[in-house]
Amino acid sequence: MAISTSPDRLPDAAEILEPSPAALMRRRAFRHYGLIIGGGFLALIVFVALAAPFIAPHDPYDQELTRRLIPPIWHDKGTWEYPLGTDGFGRGYLSRTMYGAQVSLLIGFTVMLISGVIGTAMGIAAGYFGGRFDMIITFIITTRLAMPAILVALAVVALVGSSTTVVIWVLGLLLWDRFAVVMRSTTQQIRNLDYVAAAEAAGCSTLRILMTEIMPNVFNALIVVATLEVAHAVLLEAALSFLGLGVQPPTPSWGLMISEGKGHMFFKPWLIAIPGFALFVMILCINMLGDGIRDVTAPENRN
């Protein structure tokens, strides 16, 4: 009881010990501008996406043909009722852009989860078991890389019929290559370390070694790839929707909005500039976050 109240109190453990790796990591994180800016803006975008039903000024599907193609507020003819103007169907562009963030993030995230599970399982298995197993998985990865992803995705989506679910599954089943490549090489490095040998010698089961020795140590690399793959998936979804074979109208997807605005772009350039800029900012933020996490968790891998 008397320990903390005595005037010459004992020093905290933190004052004696070296800062822990976690503390060092936090320190690096707070000094990393890219991470803070990218992460901060991304958090804002995620907030807007989630809160869109409450903060969007209009229903993104509500068509009003008397209010077609109102310019944004920085134009002379802009009105505050529609801060970013309206599209060719008279739908509020600000509301559609906000809901578009929802669509992009939803697709980006779920695609990343699907491809992450596939790629990570393949990569870790190849890296851990090696030998013939590794050969087969490397061959599968090489085959996947040889197939033009966007072309295959377009063809399959067109044949099956385009919908958000189809797009998510097709992209998820196609984009696992980077997960597999990175997880394979990271696992290979860790597999030869002493603590894995120790766990094997102690008679741990393979599953336990994978779960308690390998997984925690490849986790940082996994997070970095996962972040960058969200950006990759968002970009591909936008490209598919732009070509008309992704998310279907009237769903507000940024790629689709750019495609719809394309016809008016010479006289009403904001129709493509606004969703294009939104897409650009989102990708930039995700990439900055991913690069930042890599710098902070593994500064030695920076170059």
């Binding site: 040889a146 295959v152 399959v156 067109a158 099956v160 493509i272 294009g276 897409l279 990708i283 690069d291």
Partner: protein, 305 residues
């Protein structure tokens, strides 16, 4: 070297076969070629007739074998829509896409290698940081959006460059820039990393100590070694560009393989889609194979593994 080359060639062939099997199966499972051939107004009997007539009622492995044996003799089938041999159409369209890819890669290399070298000479300085920042920002631009910006600025506002077509070299500038800029960050980073590593090595210090001119040390001694991994990356990137050409060629209305792919997808032209995926995969496989060989030639250590 010969053993290595033969092994690699065998692997490349295997990958090509695997790609063809997967593409064939994937397309057949996704849609019905008989229905696509019969057209939209076809009745169930019509479709059934087409299915029988063209053998789509047989099992998939049998159909694949049939297709593959013909493909090996150079017959990739006939386009349902264009009523011409698929191989002939692809050969007609290929030069545009290859020209586009070559210009795009040249653009990417001309931009990224000097930037990478510059960044490596002064790591963590303003030059380095600026180059990295530009590459990060560049990578965030979706290619189709970037293409539209270029069209708006250089095609419409300034009227410097033509927007559509493939008639002159001028027509290739905007598409090649759009296709190529996406590869620059990766090539730049790899050049930079390679140069930093090489510039710190002993033989560069020796070369400098001998009093060689800095330019010679930099380009003859350092860059030549640092560029080796860039060769294989360029091959991979060129392969990706051929795949990405579908978006770019569609936007700029260029009559290459990419736009053909887009049209075939819209027409459910099975034979055509299959052949195009295979052609692009083939390009990629040949490119990576050549890059592997070139690498092994340049760096004897690779051959041993």
């Amino acid at each position: 070297m010969l053993v290595y080359a033969v092994k690699r060639f065998g692997l490349a062939l295997l990958v090509l076969v695997a790609v063809s099997v997967i593409t064939f199966t994937l397309l057949r499972l996704s849609g019905d070629p008989a229905a696509a051939m019969a057209g939209e107004s076809a009745t169930a009997e019509d479709i059934e007739y087409v299915r029988k007539h063209y053998g789509f009622d047989r099992s998939l492995p049998v159909q694949y074998w049939d297709w593959a044996t013909k493909a090996m003799q150079g017959d990739l089938g006939r386009s349902i829509y264009l009523k011409q041999p698929v191989a002939q159409i692809i050969i007609e369209k290929a030069p545009v896409t290859m020209k586009l890819g070559a210009i795009a890669l040249t653009f990417a290399l001309v931009l990224s290698i000097p930037l990478g070298v510059l960044a490596a000479m002064r790591p963590n300085t303003l030059v380095d940081r600026t180059a990295l920042t530009i590459s990060v920002i560049g990578q965030a631009f979706p290619s189709f959006f970037f293409a539209l910006i270029l069209i708006y600025v250089f095609g419409v506002a300034l009227r410097w460059l033509p927007i559509t077509g493939t008639d002159t070299w001028w027509h290739f500038i905007m598409p090649a820039v759009t296709l190529g800029y996406y590869a620059t960050p990766a090539i730049m980073r790899l050049t930079r990393a390679g140069m930093i590593e090489v510039l710190g090595s002993d033989y560069i210090r020796t070369a400098r100590a001998k009093g060689l001119r800095p330019g010679i040390v930099l380009f003859k001694h350092a860059l030549r070694n640092a560029i080796i991994p860039v060769v294989s990356l360029s091959a991979v990137q060129l392969g990706f560009m051929l795949g990405g050409s579908i978006v770019i060629e569609t936007i700029f209305s260029m009559h290459g393989i990419g736009r053909l792919a887009w049209q075939s997808i819209q027409r459910s032209d099975f034979e055509m889609m299959q052949a195009i995926v295979l052609t692009i995969a083939c390009f990629y496989i040949v490119l990576t194979f050549l890059a592997d060989l070139l690498n092994a030639f340049l760096d004897p250590r690779i051959r041993v593994h």
